[in-house]
């Protein structure tokens, strides 16, 4: 099975406090630690496990710039056999629709049985996978938490729905699935693994290679972010700022006062 996984490099929210810049129009990007978007990493692991079970190859693709090569290499260190960077000055400013159009053009140049994305990016809208499927007229399932290959034409997939319940469906190939975190346990990637793929060439394809017209991408975006801001929601918490021990004492008193001690 030929599997393509669409990945994105994002600021890592577990490593960063996201703050506004001084102008208030963007987040402060100077000291941000970037990493692969977490659900995308689960998607790559799932692709590798499927390929190991039924045979096949896993390719990873991203839309971005030179800095984004690092996430492709990381996923190649996990076991993906190809990494492709889709990059062009004309891609700048693309909305989700634009990104999906770029990926669609790339997918149509190849032959993939299954396309995976992460369910949502940290700075995203849970949109590209569903849009890509619609553009390709492939069936789509989101929030996928398990995949069984039934035969070379169909899969059995579970989706996460409300209350911890799962919706089970059969889906025809080729299809696009968006992968939820927790579907597997992504393998560890060490420095040694990264070094092993450090010199593997990563081909780059631009708008011309993909036959994309300006009206589909970049500045043609219908959706644009105007600014970032920090909302004021209600009064916020009363902050306890004494010593750790005094804070603990006060918390205990509060729990007792709220009838929480049996």
């Amino acid at each position: 099975m030929e599997i393509l996984v669409c990945v994105k490099r994002v600021p890592d929210t577990s490593e960063n406090e996201i703050e506004l810049n001084s102008a208030g129009n963007d987040i402060e990007r100077g000291d941000l630690v970037y990493s692969i978007n977490e659900p995308d990493n689960y998607a790559v692991e799932e692709a590798l496990q499927i390929a190991a079970r039924v045979g096949g190859k896993v390719s990873v693709v991203t839309v971005g710039g030179e800095d984004d090569e690092e996430v492709l290499r990381r996923e190649m260190a996990m076991g993906a056999s190809h990494g492709i960077l889709l990059s062009d000055p004309g891609f700048a400013g693309s909305d989700g629709r634009g990104i999906a159009s770029i990926l669609k053009a790339f997918v149509q140049k190849g032959s993939y049985d299954l396309i995976l994305t992460g369910v949502q990016a940290e700075d995203g809208a849970a949109q590209v996978g569903g849009m890509l499927a619609a553009m390709l007229d492939y069936p789509f399932a989101s929030l996928v938490t398990s995949i069984d290959v039934l035969d070379e034409k169909k899969l059995k997939v579970s989706r996460e729905i409300e209350g911890g319940n799962k919706e089970v469906s059969e889906i025809d190939l080729p299809s696009v699935l968006s992968i939820q975190t927790g579907i597997n346990e992504p393998r560890y990637v060490g420095m040694k693994g990264i070094r092993a793929v450090q010199s593997v060439p990563i081909p780059t394809q631009g708008a011309g290679d993909l036959g994309l017209k300006p009206a589909e991408i970049g500045a043609a975006a219908k959706v644009t972010r105007m600014d970032y801001f920090v909302p004021v929601l209600g009064t916020g918490a009363r902050m306890l700022d004494k010593s750790r021990e005094e804070n603990a004492e006060e918390v205990l008193e509060l729990i007792a006062a709220k009838g929480g001690l049996k």
Partner: protein
């Protein structure tokens, strides 16, 4: 102004709370809009759903077909693309169904798409100004959306308050004959209901709830010791389940359990809305987090900026001290 449609989520003949919230959101886009509800399903239970939403919408489109008994987005998307006029604004609640349906629908309608909207600042010409969040709610963003060829917008549950007051009762139109053939490359098989577990976090008055801040599996014991001392239960947010440190039945949130404790200790939990959606009944929330910018501090009653790996053992020993003193 474009027509506005609202997709109605319903179950067992009862319309979801989101129906009235979508009507409220529609009035924020255009106070005079005559919004149309779309109710899709099968059987007589659809009539009670239509009757329930008639009071919030000017018009109700009912689509009934045995093949639509289960809401399979792959069947419903082409159907909507066929019946919704070009240039319309379509509103849906942001949930697992719209995550499936809506992005592709925007492509099929050639409309703009914005997901998980918490605020609508109104319409300026054909531009909608909307508010959404990024980075797990750490920052919000204003988004400009060109709705000249329509828009598909998913609305965060609970973000818009249903508008009270009597309204003209909308007319119900049966559109079932207009949907064309129903086939899809994805077929619904079954729903697997979450298993019951030994600890039922929905029944506890106090929850010691842990998030990513617990850092590793070996640290879960720190929370368990506190819960034991308090007579509470340990619950958690999604990353703890993803890492397999606790079982799924302990997860609070929209994809986990809905809890109604008296006191909720949010320990190392950032406070993403999917998590907060599982906390009901207005409990007293005490949040402990190393990150002073964590969104949880906006909704908590009490906040402490500290490392839970240091703070929780301190609190446990205070509880034990108190219990010890009381026993003497």
């Amino acid at each position: 102004m474009a027509r506005i449609f609202a997709y109605i989520i319903h179950k067992n003949g009862v319309a979801d709370d989101s129906a009235a919230e979508l009507a409220a959101a529609a009035s924020k886009i255009d106070a005079h809009a005559a919004c149309t509800a779309i109710v899709i399903g099968s059987g007589s239970e659809l009539d009670s759903v239509c009757a329930a939403v008639q009071v919030s919408f000017a018009e109700v489109w009912k689509i009934s077909n045995a093949a639509l008994a289960y809401p399979n987005a792959e069947l419903i998307r082409p159907l909507l693309a066929k019946i919704v006029p070009a240039g319309s604004v379509v509103l849906l609640p942001h949930d697992h169904f719209s995550i499936d349906l809506a992005p592709g629908l925007s492509v099929k309608l050639n409309a703009a798409f914005v997901s998980d909207v918490l605020g609508i600042d109104g319409l300026d010409g054909h531009f909608l100004k909307l508010v959404r969040q990024e980075f797990g709610g750490q920052v919000s963003a204003h988004v400009k959306c060109d709705a000249s060829s329509g828009a598909v917008i998913t609305i965060r549950p609970g973000a818009f308050k249903a508008v009270a007051g009597p309204k003209p009762v909308g007319v119900v139109l049966d559109k079932s004959a207009e949907i064309g053939s129903l086939t899809a490359g994805r077929r619904y098989l079954e729903t697997i209901v979450a298993e019951a577990s030994d600890v039922d976090i929905t029944k506890h008055a106090v929850l010691v709830s842990i998030g990513r801040g617990i850092q590793e599996k070996d640290n879960v014991g720190i929370a368990q010791e506190l819960a034991e001392a308090l007579g509470a239960a340990v619950s958690c947010s999604r990353p703890v389940v993803d890492a397999k440190w606790l079982e799924k039945s302990r997860q609070v949130g929209s994809s986990g359990k809905t809890v109604k404790p008296k006191v909720y200790l949010a320990c190392g939990i950032s406070g993403a809305f999917q998590h907060l959606a599982g906390i009901k009944g207005n409990p007293f929330i005490i949040a402990i987090n190393k990150n002073p910018k964590a969104p949880i501090f906006q909704v908590a009653d009490i906040g402490i900026v500290d490392d839970i790996l240091e703070f929780l053992p301190q609190l446990t020993s205070k509880v034990q001290e108190m219990r010890g003193a009381a026993a003497k």
